[in-house]
């Protein structure tokens, strides 16, 4: 009976669950049955043995984990070449290998960085504010670059397995079809993959929403924050990604604050003509439908290369529908004045609405 009680108390003691009175009871029982010290000793030994976890190389396991779920982590932290193949396998030789490993890491990251910048700066096309450009890439793809946008690609783009271009701002692509060379547009927030098609991508750093609009063909799109989720667009569909919160301290906002929508693109009829709002800019037409002046502001600023200051909140909330073709800023503003009453002052590149 007592032995049974001793074991019971020993079990609790080993588990760290014995209270003080139980510990006292155990001590007195052990002193009464000195042989029971063996149990304590033997059980203690059994208990102390740690399982084989020391064999686990946690650094390697964690690196593997990071690679498997790379999309979930900040990609910049994962430089190629730092992988465990080059890492020491035994702890004893760790120090000896550490220096080599560090050199490898430094070297590979250096290579990686130079490679990346070279790839980025091979050819860069910039359209400033108030300017729109039309270029043909070496592979035959036509690109219209909207105001205040930047497009960069490698000179060898037509020989590469994947034709990758980097875009900041807005551009329309009419991609030359090549079966085994997908065309990929990368922006800060999205990645669009296509074979041959015509589509528009818009991702201005200062705007909370990014968009992709497809005219024909099909595209596969993924949001950088959720890389494994692929979205397929059909012709005349528009994908929009809206970030709920403004960027703080340059840190990417959490994925839960994003809204993704897919909508149909319908032509807008203004006067006698039909326009597609998302892509008409490439035909030198700025189209807007039922938008407030406040919403229009960034587009007007880019289009006319002006800085707009809206000092009257009433004017800011006026809604406009219309299309501008060759109008200059003064003509455009005078036209808007015919729709809603407001006054403006134009001074070089500053437009004040009051």
């Amino acid at each position: 009976m007592d032995r049974s009680r001793i074991i019971e108390l020993l079990a609790r003691k080993l588990a760290g669950e014995a209270n003080s009175s139980e510990l006292e009871e155990l001590a007195s029982l052990i002193s009464r049955y000195p042989d029971s010290v063996y149990y304590e000793e033997l059980l203690g030994q059994l208990w102390e043995e740690s399982p084989a976890e020391n064999d686990l190389d946690m650094d390697t396991i964690y690196q593997k984990h990071l690679r498997k779920y790379a999309a979930d982590f900040d990609a910049d932290l994962l430089l190629p070449g730092t992988y465990p193949d080059e890492e020491p396998s035994t702890k004893k030789s760790y120090n000896a290998f550490a220096t080599i490993a560090i050199c490898l890491v430094a070297l590979s990251s250096l290579l990686y960085l130079t490679k990346r910048t070279v790839a980025k700066t091979d050819t860069q096309i910039v359209a400033g504010k108030g300017v729109r450009k039309n270029v043909k890439l070496p592979d035959g793809t036509m690109v219209w670059l909207n105001s205040d946008s930047k497009l960069s690609y490698s000179n060898k783009i037509s020989q590469q397995k994947k034709r990758i271009v980097h875009l900041q701002g807005e551009a329309f692509f009419d991609v030359a079809h090549r079966d085994h060379q997908p065309f990929i547009v990368k922006t800060d927030r999205m990645c669009v993959k296509v074979l041959g098609t015509a589509f528009n991508v818009k991702d201005y750093a200062l705007e909370s929403s990014s968009e992709a609009t497809l005219l024909r063909g099909s595209i596969e799109l993924s949001v950088n924050e959720r890389a494994q989720q692929k979205i397929l667009l059909n012709p005349s569909e528009k994908f929009a990604l809206v970030e709920g919160r403004s960027k703080k301290n340059g840190k990417a906002p959490r994925s839960a604050d994003m809204t993704m929508t897919i909508a149909h693109v319908l032509p807008i009829t203004i006067g006698d003509e039909q326009y597609i709002e998302e892509t008409s800019w490439k035909d030198n037409t700025l189209v807007f439908k039922n938008e407030t002046l406040e919403e229009l502001k960034p587009r007007l600023e880019r289009w006319f290369n002006v800085k707009i200051h809206i000092e009257s909140s009433q004017a800011g909330s006026y809604r406009f529908t219309g299309a501008f073709k060759k109008e200059e800023i003064r003509e455009a503003m005078t036209a808007l004045q015919l729709i809603k009453p407001f006054t403006f002052k134009l001074k070089e590149h500053d437009l004040i609405i009051y």
């Binding site: 149990y39 059994l46 946690m58």
Partner: protein
């Protein structure tokens, strides 16, 4: 135990509030061995156990915004691992319904340096045989408390049983071991 629970709470809040990958790495390295062991004794495959443990941990990272609502991240991780493993076993279709009681768990005692210890390989085998007859939950209790240093309360939450039952299981497992030790070392009753 390598880490006390205030430190774990600190890690989880750093993950939840600051998206700290560094904190996640620490948490990962702390939780992985135990989770891997736990999954291994349910799944019986090293690869599946690795995958399950990784799935549990990436699940924690993906749900990091909700981590602040969780009191005990270790228990949370083990419960996730338990559910994941049972789902996997159910899906594999070998049994219509798998509950913890249907799984054969090995306690598998290990000795670091048998020569220095009183417990040699032969005795270890005897101990393993003796404990193999214990019920599954009893063995799991023993493993969680002994190998992972979990408390009664934590083990109870993970295995979905009461604290009293955890105590009873642990005492039963230890008694089983002592009956073997008693015979081996001719200890008095």
């Amino acid at each position: 135990m390598p880490e006390t629970s205030p430190e774990l709470t600190e890690l989880t809040s750093r993950i939840a509030l600051y998206n700290s990958e560094h904190a996640y790495e620490k948490l990962y390295k702390f939780l992985y061995p135990g989770l891997h062991r736990f999954c291994f004794c349910l799944l019986k495959s090293k690869e599946s156990a690795e995958e399950a443990a990784n799935d549990v941990l990436i699940g924690i990272w993906r749900n990091r915004e909700k981590l602040t609502a969780i009191n005990n991240i270790r228990v949370y991780a083990f419960v996730m691992a338990r559910n994941l493993c049972l789902n996997l076993l159910n899906k594999s279709g070998k049994q219509v319904f798998v509950s913890l009681d249907d799984i054969n768990v090995d306690i598998a005692l290990k000795t670091k340096n048998p020569e220095e210890l009183l417990i040699n390989e032969e005795l270890k085998l005897k101990l393993d045989q003796a404990t193999s007859a214990l019920p599954t939950r009893c063995k799991l209790v023993f493993k969680l408390i002994k190998e992972d240093g979990l408390s009664y309360k934590e083990a109870a939450a993970i295995l979905n049983i009461s604290v009293k039952t955890v105590d009873a299981h642990l005492v039963a497992a230890v008694k089983k071991l002592t009956t073997i030790l008693q015979l081996e070392f001719n200890l008095i009753d």
